[in-house]
């Protein structure tokens, strides 16, 4: 660290001397950022709770990420960086993970943070309440704390993605002295969260705002730079645009700003836009087919649908350039992505030929098949995407009936397999074994469970490859298997992968160092500062 600072100072000097006019103001971060300042941030919808162990919605992760920390952070290339762990080693057999913890870390109530907290969090707490981290930490044979600053995980078998599980909404470290022996879900501390993070909860006025103040005892000396953060609950999309336009709020992220407003906000002089900081989540939106229903059981039909959808149109006209066409099941920012797979260019003629080959001929009314598309109730952009898909499939003689519902109803239909087709979007969580395999392996076909393998795809070869790839110690060996997986899946088209989504993060230019890791605005904000 000591070397980095003088170099940064030099660079900053060079910038100031010669390149100031050319460089955008926001690109420079001073070597020694000023203390002070208050940041107002849009949050929508309001998080139900800030306790990341029992709620992992995006708003909860954004706000709770200021309070709770995990052992590691990840840079934009998903390389681990120190978090609560100062350093870490993985044994050559891939079975033992040893984390050395930072010194002088205190919980918000003043109690020292130790390795026991990490053992309690992973062994007892998360495996009890957290559906996503339960299967990860159940892979541990033994979790021990040989000394107060060391934690050792002995796994039952190798699991390379284990190193990717250490971000705050997957593995929040919670205080043992507060949670041990209590009912985790109703512990009053869920409302008065105690973490190790750079900010402390001061006040939460439901429906209005959440007020954070600087944690003066934060373990990174001199940080955080900001005095306070206010999360403003703004449920209306137009109000959010106004808030950013007028400078009343300084940061928006994810879907806060509707895609059609993005070009206009991008042009404003007081704001800068970045799409960085979503690499860990890596969301792909796809068209899910219920393979139990005809004609989706025929691979040619799925391929025809894939050929009939112009993904560039979706990107340019529906998402206003925010994203890029997906090539397969794995997002290009996630390890083991391979672009060398069969391609499905926009080609309605080929789509029609495939349907003809199947024997799905156009009837007297020009219709080959009638199917239903369940609209994904996550906002206007998905509704518009659904409308485009109806048009696109209409052109090849497939008549689409759109069915709308609220989130709870949609979830109920999908998890109980009561659908033909629906759009879906999900995070890949830093590794295919954490966020991708769950959608395609047949052991995860579980009726009544959302985000399992709901479409019923079953292929013994895929099951075998995913199982083996997850436990492979050698990355090159794993890559070979993931490449084969991607080839087979793209050939089979169990679902049609449409876009890798880019989310627009708008930052008021008065603030710097806002997006510094692969979890972007969900990170702790210890480095964020306000320019004088």
């Amino acid at each position: 660290m000591s070397l980095v600072r003088p170099i940064a100072t030099l660079l900053a000097g060079a910038l100031a001397a010669g390149m100031l006019a050319a460089a955008p103001a926001a690109a420079q971060a001073p070597a020694d950022p000023p203390r002070g300042g208050t940041m107002n941030i849009i949050i929508s919808p309001e998080p139900p709770t800030l306790m990341l162990g029992i709620n992992q919605t995006t708003p909860a992760a954004i706000v709770g990420g200021k309070i709770y920390e995990s052992l590691l952070r990840y840079d934009f290339d998903l390389k681990p960086m120190p978090g609560l762990a100062k350093s870490w080693t993985v044994s050559p057999d891939g079975l033992t993970y040893t984390f050395k913890l930072q010194e002088g870390v205190k919980w918000h109530d003043g109690t020292p943070f130790t390795a026991d907290d990490v053992v309690f969090s992973t062994k007892t707490y998360l495996t009890a309440v957290h559906p996503r981290s339960r299967p990860i930490f159940q892979r541990a044979e033994e979790i021990t704390a040989p000394d107060p600053l060391t934690v050792v995980f002995k796994l039952k078998g190798p699991f390379a993605p284990f190193i990717m599980a250490w971000e705050p909404s997957t593995a929040p470290i919670v205080p043992k002295h507060i949670y041990e022996g209590t009912d985790f879900r109703t512990n009053p501390a869920n409302n008065k969260p105690i973490g190790t993070g750079p900010f402390k909860l001061k006040e939460w006025v439901r429906g209005s705002h959440i007020h954070f103040v600087r944690n003066d005892d934060y373990w990174q000396k001199g940080k955080p730079y900001l005095d306070a953060i206010y999360y403003r609950v703004l449920p209306d999309a137009s109000a959010r645009v106004v808030a950013m336009e007028t400078g009343q709020t300084h940061l928006s992220a994810f879907a806060d700003i509707e895609t059609f407003e993005v070009p206009r906000l991008k042009a404003l002089p007081n704001l800068e836009m970045t799409t960085k900081g979503y690499e860990y989540l890596a969301q792909i939106v796809w068209l899910d087919f219920n393979l139990r229903n005809k004609p989706f059981d025929d691979r040619r039909f799925r391929q025809a649908v894939y050929h009939a959808i112009d993904r560039n149109f979706l990107r340019d006209r529906i998402w206003f350039g925010l994203g890029k066409p997906a090539t397969g099941p794995i997002h290009s920012s996630i390890p083991h992505y391979d672009a060398n797979v069969p391609k499905y260019p926009f080609d309605p003629k080929k789509a029609e030929a495939l349907l003809d080959e199947m024997g799905l001929k156009r009837g007297a009314d020009g219709v080959r098949a009638r199917i239903t598309l369940d609209q994904l109730p996550y906002g206007d952009v998905y509704i518009r995407a659904g409308e485009y898909i109806r048009q696109a499939l209409g052109r090849i003689g497939v008549q689409v009936n759109l069915r709308s519902a609220d989130v709870a109803t949609w979830g109920d239909r999908v998890r109980n397999w009561d659908y033909d087709m629906t759009l879906q979007v999900l995070s890949q969580l830093g590794h295919p074994a954490l966020g991708v395999s769950r959608l395609y392996v047949s052991s995860n076909i579980r009726k009544g469970v959302l985000f399992s393998n709901v479409n019923g795809y079953s292929n013994p070869r895929i099951d075998e490859l995913f199982d083996k790839a997850a436990v492979a110690v050698d990355p090159a060996e794993a890559q070979k298997m993931y490449t084969e997986i991607q080839k087979i899946l793209v050939e089979d088209v169990p679902v049609a992968w449409l876009l890798e989504l880019d989310f627009p993060t708008f930052i008021d230019k008065r603030f710097g160092n806002v997006v510094t890791s692969a979890i972007g605005v969900r990170d702790g904000f210890a480095d964020v500062f306000m320019r004088r």
Binding site: A239, S427, F451
Partner: protein, 325 residues
């Protein structure tokens, strides 16, 4: 005495109605697909059977429906509104936080719209057929026909973005500690746009109603008699015409008062007003049963109270109307 007896009777009836509402709402909510456990599992971006089971057991959703209903009614009768597992708070706390902002907003809008609406209606009726009457009618029609959220957004564009006079959202300035008069003034400034948005729509209704009703009463025999007696025009208008013309307005206002509580959802959303309408809307989407039932119960009680008040006001405005159960 008669009036007190009437009120007592109506309160008793109101309680019976409330119990009916609770039972009906409880069963209606369960008809919606999905439950809070499934919604929360969905939000986790991952779920398994164990997670769903844990949540259902915690929410008591694993017990038979009638048992759940009985437990809920028994709790309500002892003034226990239950717990929102989703928000980790007792429902009564959530209601206590969110009801006052709504009452402030809708109460202000109610009084303003009634005063402004009746005044405009009277003015229009007096000048019936002249250009000022037409102007009032056109303006009223405009605000009656325009969606609330659009009026609100235009208000924000003009007064917040372009002129910078008024805050665009929230109920008070965040990040400054204000007390006493300064705090009230701050809330007042935040109240202007949302209250005005709600007011304009309802004002239009009252204005049109008052005008029509005034015109009807204006030509009745007793007014002509009063005029023949030589009573001056001002007091004819006040004592003879308006007093008789106002009854239908009172009826509508009574109904609207209940509607205002629910109808403020849009305005609360546009202006990020931390009221009960938004609480209810979010509870519906999240299937947060206890919160939703709590909101229904409180708003039903308010509507019943307003209806009772309306009936009493009838008898005050027109002594010929007898209060009777």
């Amino acid at each position: 005495m008669e009036r007190l007896e009437f009120i007592a009777q109506r309160v008793l009836k109101g309680i019976v109605v409330l119990v009916g509402i609770v039972v009906l709402n409880f069963l209606l909510i369960r008809l919606a697909p999905g439950d809070p456990a499934a919604v929360m599992a969905g939000e986790a971006g991952a779920s398994d059977e164990l997670f769903l089971q844990q949540l259902r057991a915690q929410f008591g959703l694993d017990r038979p429906l009638l048992e759940q209903l009985w437990a809920y009614v028994a709790n309500i009768l002892s003034f226990d509104f239950g717990f929102s597992y989703r928000q980790q708070r007792p429902v009564v706390d959530l209601l206590a936080e969110r009801l006052p902002p709504t009452l402030l907003l809708t109460g202000t809008a109610f009084v303003l719209s009634l005063v402004a609406g009746v005044t405009l209606g009277v003015m229009a009726a007096r000048r019936a057929g002249r250009w000022s009457d037409s102007a009032i009618t056109v303006v009223a029609l405009f605000f009656y026909a325009t969606p609330l959220f659009w009026v609100g957004l235009m208000g924000v564009l003009l007064f917040s973005v372009t002129l910078g006079w008024l805050p665009a959202f929230g109920m008070a300035s965040v990040g400054v500690k204000l007390t006493g008069f300064a705090y009230l003034a701050d809330v007042g400034r935040h109240l202007v746009l949302p209250a005005l948005t709600l007011t304009l729509f309802h004002m239009a209704v009252y204005a049109r109603m008052t005008r029509a009703s005034m015109l009807e009463v204006r030509d009745l025999d007793f007014v002509r008699t009063a005029r023949a007696k030589g009573v001056d025009e001002g007091s004819i208008l006040r004592r003879h015409v308006l007093r008789n013309a106002i009854l239908p307005v009172v009826t509508i206002a009574g109904m609207k008062a209940g509607y205002l509580l629910g109808g403020s959802i849009v305005v609360e959303t546009v202006f990020a007003w931390p009221g009960i309408g938004r609480l209810a809307y979010e509870a519906v989407l999240q299937r947060d049963y206890n919160v939703l039932l709590g909101v229904f119960l409180v708003t039903s009680a308010l509507v019943i109270a307003v209806n009772l008040a309306t009936d009493v006001i009838y008898s005050l405005v027109d002594p010929r109307i007898e209060l009777g159960a």
